[in-house]
Amino acid sequence: MTKTVFDDIETLKKELIRCMKCGNCMAVCPVYNVEKKESSVARGKIALGEAVLSNAINIDDETLIKLIFNCLLCKSCMMACPSGVRFDRIILGLRAAIFKKKGLPFIKKALFGLLKNPEMFDKGMKAFAALQGLFLKSEGEKKRTPKGFLKGISQRFDAQFILPELSRESFRDRISEIIQVEKSQTIAIFFTGCSVNYLYPEVGDDLIYVLKKNNVTVITPKNQNCCGMPVLVHGDIETARELARKNIDAFENTKAQQIVTVCGSCGSALKNEYPILLERTFYEEKAKKWANRVYDISTFLLKAIQLKPPKGRVELKITYHDSCHLRKSMKVFNEPRQLLKSLPGITFVEMKKPDACCGSGGSYHLTNVDTSLKIAKTKTEDIKTTEADVVCTGCPACMMEIFESLHRFKGISNVIHTVSLLAQSYKSEKDEKKN
């Protein structure tokens, strides 16, 4: 078996060498834009990778670790790179090497800076891990809001911090595994992702509603797992691989033709990360097969099936935020706009930089609070300028972040998933008929 970038850091050489240090990545990097430091941007991190490979610095250098984790993985740099440097492989390869040397607890401690209070850290992490689906078997566990647990973990958990209500039954616990419709157009798997499962079950309900309206039979496998993104970005490749294999097994057990996601990060994991993670293994072909069948809900409706356009009026002024992983990894940005603009009654306003990161970056907003808040503030200001009633987006992580920063920076808009607005339109069709 030939080694991949995750198994052997030496294989990064051929990726690193492609960077010509032109600095184009600086124009688009949200972290650099705030910090204005060379190590913030892809070019600087590539130089650090080169230094590791030439033994100019050790992989377990404490500053180096912090710098390598000071990246949102938004992939903006990859869109701007003239040489086509695959920076995602570089940063994940470096993180994997750090993980192998130091392990996850070290990384988390280094990032959260909580060595002083390991007990609280551990409790908090467990609560958060459950929330993020880091545990493989999380079904049935009582979910609770981590706010109390997490106090003191990150500066982000201050008086301003808010989270959606958590102590509810998870989405997958209460939904039937198979929802059969008459005159079914196709059978699709709903890959819920952890955020929808635990935090935004109503987004899941809205998705089911929209798919039912379009005569799609939906399978929501009970044994699906976390997509693996949270462990992958911390360099825990083996867990990410295990999650990927289990999810693929779950897909293989169905007769579905497609997978639908409502989360840019989950979708991009399935579409772009699984084939790399499982490269040169028994699962490679299966990973590729399912990667080709993954659709964000917007592209699914417009490209994979015959859409029954929603006709109900939705009298709202809306703006749209491009989730980084949805736009830059899954390359989905036209379809959500097309769908939203088609809704009767909608006024659509673009914000200044709709594809600028919201500042979330998974746990980045907890580990790198200052930078994340500055990124979030710019996003909030751009949203406020539109005076929109509602910000639509296609990723629950962005929803959570924008929800939080709008509260923090006194915005007035609501945050809604694209699919929820579609469901709202279908629902008001019914009301209109009644009237």
Binding site: M20, K36, E38, S39, T63, G84
Partner: protein
């Protein structure tokens, strides 16, 4: 040199958060965008916010004979900001305020860390532009581009950075703060210091404020593209356009290797059997005059057996530009390393230079794609190599030597817009001669007697 005391002093001057000392951070200041030059890790990086701090740093550096390396965004293509003798890198990215936009005097006063594109965004609401547009303008700073006297795509009609700088504030290597020039169009007081400091590559003083000249944004644009079966015809088209008194804002050329590589990469429907293409943009404030210029270009292209296409809509205009924008990205995909040169010749020798480059590529068995600013005679032979292939790297160095030799023999220059820095230092004498070397040294020694400002760049201290 730098000891703990020096570092503590810097922390007092700049504030703790504006001083980098960790090895991992310092490593990322060991390079710029230049391929194939030495790297060095600085001892310290500082982020100034005001002029006074820089003055204090100079006093400190003079006492200890510590080298200082000013740095903008590090997109330089000649090694300007590389800290060759360790020392302190002064990174200007946080000193980035637009101090004033004076729309009536057509000036903008900026701190050196302002990004060129940001200045253009800020003046756009007054209907004005700051014309110098180097390829890196989305990231490059005004300070860096002033120090390097950067060019760009609009050089033929609008000139380069030096034509848009009216005055500045400089901290001298001896510590004095010196302001010269201003908002007046005319100013002949004293020496023309502006032109001494523009392009001084950080060797004569540290620029801390800049007064830029702005011009009204042209209202009308027409874009044409033309394909030629013979290089000579493309070259003659360029000279004929100028001879007919049309000065296009942009007059770009791409050779066969570049066209084929772009088509292979971007699949935009370029003919791959042609020898050259020209991309022409004419602009101005009057619709009729811009139309006349476009029609004149069209006629000249046809007279020289070129196949032209003129954009009728904005979308078409954009699609014609796609080929040129894709040139560097496409070439950069072919091999791991991309060496971008900027030898420049009088525009009447454009074809001679292009043919010479093709012959050099054949002679040394290298892949060279050439594109560039035909109207300026400013070509970018782009040499694609694998740095791990030692034999290829040897051939590369020989080819570069010959490219410069040829450019000079045609009455051209080593560098049209990238600067000398470290990358072209060894060729300097072949262009400016013994007397030139003596003069540049005397100027350097008079202003920077301790040789603390960007030592090892632009000024060869030893023969």
């Amino acid at each position: 040199m730098i000891n703990q005391n020096f570092i503590s002093q810097c922390k007092i001057i700049f504030g703790h958060e504006n001083v980098l000392t960790d090895k991992a951070e310092l490593l990322t200041y060991s390079y710029d965008a230049t391929a194939g030059i030495p790297r060095e890790i600085p001892s310290l990086v500082v982020f100034p916010q005001n002029t006074k701090q820089i003055q204090e740093l100079i006093f400190l550096a003079r006492q200890t004979k510590t080298p200082i390396y000013p740095r903008g965004a590090g997109t330089c293509l000649s090694g300007g900001p590389v800290p060759l003798s360790k020392g302190v890198v002064v990174s200007f990215q946080k000193m980035n305020k637009i101090v004033e936009i004076d729309a009536d005097n057509l000036t903008a006063t900026v701190q050196p860390g302002v990004i060129i594109a940001d200045l253009n965004t800020a003046v756009a609401k007054y209907g004005l532009i700051y014309p110098p547009d180097p390829g890196s303008m989305a990231t490059a700073t005004i300070g860096g581009s002033v120090a390097e006297n950067s060019g760009g795509l609009r050089g033929l009609k609008y000139g380069v950075t030096k034509h848009y700088i009216m005055g500045m504030e400089v901290v001298m290597p001896t510590g004095e703060i010196f302001r010269f020039g201003g908002k007046t169009v005319k100013n002949v007081t004293a020496y023309d210091f502006t032109h001494l400091f523009v392009g001084s590559e950080g060797t004569l003083g540290i620029i801390t404020e800049i007064i830029c000249k702005l011009i009204p944004s042209p209202k009308y644009h027409r874009v044409l593209i033309a394909f030629f079966d013979k290089l000579e015809n493309a070259g003659k088209t360029v000279t004929d356009i100028i001879r007919n008194h049309v000065i296009p804002a942009t007059l770009e050329i791409m050779d066969k290797v570049t066209i084929q590589t772009v088509e292979n990469y971007a699949k935009i429907g370029l003919p791959t059997d042609v020898e050259a293409l020209l991309l022409i943009e004419v602009d101005g404030m009057g619709k009729d005059s811009v139309e006349w210029e476009a029609k004149t270009c069209l006629k000249i292209i046809q007279q020289n057996n070129g196949k032209p296409k003129i954009a009728e809509t904005d979308a078409e205009k954009d699609s014609l530009w796609t080929a040129r924008r894709a040139a560097l990205p496409a070439l950069a995909q072919v091999k791991p390393a991309t060496i971008l040169e900027d030898a420049t010749v009088p525009r009447t020798f454009l074809v001679d230079m292009l043919i010479a480059i093709q012959n050099i590529a054949k002679k040394y068995n290298l892949m060279i794609g050439t594109f560039g600013h035909a109207g300026d005679g400013n070509l970018h032979p782009t040499i694609l190599v694998d740095p791990t292939d030692k034999d290829e790297m040897d051939r590369l160095h020989k080819a570069v030597d010959e490219i410069f030799e040829k450019a000079l023999s045609l009455g051209g220059t080593l560098s049209g817009e990238h600067g000398i820095g470290v990358a072209k230092l060894k060729y300097l004498r072949s262009e400016i001669g013994r007397s030139g070397i003596d003069t540049i040294r005397r100027i350097k020694q008079a202003l920077d007697p301790d040789n603390i400002l960007n030592p090892g760049k632009l000024v060869p201290m030893e023969d």
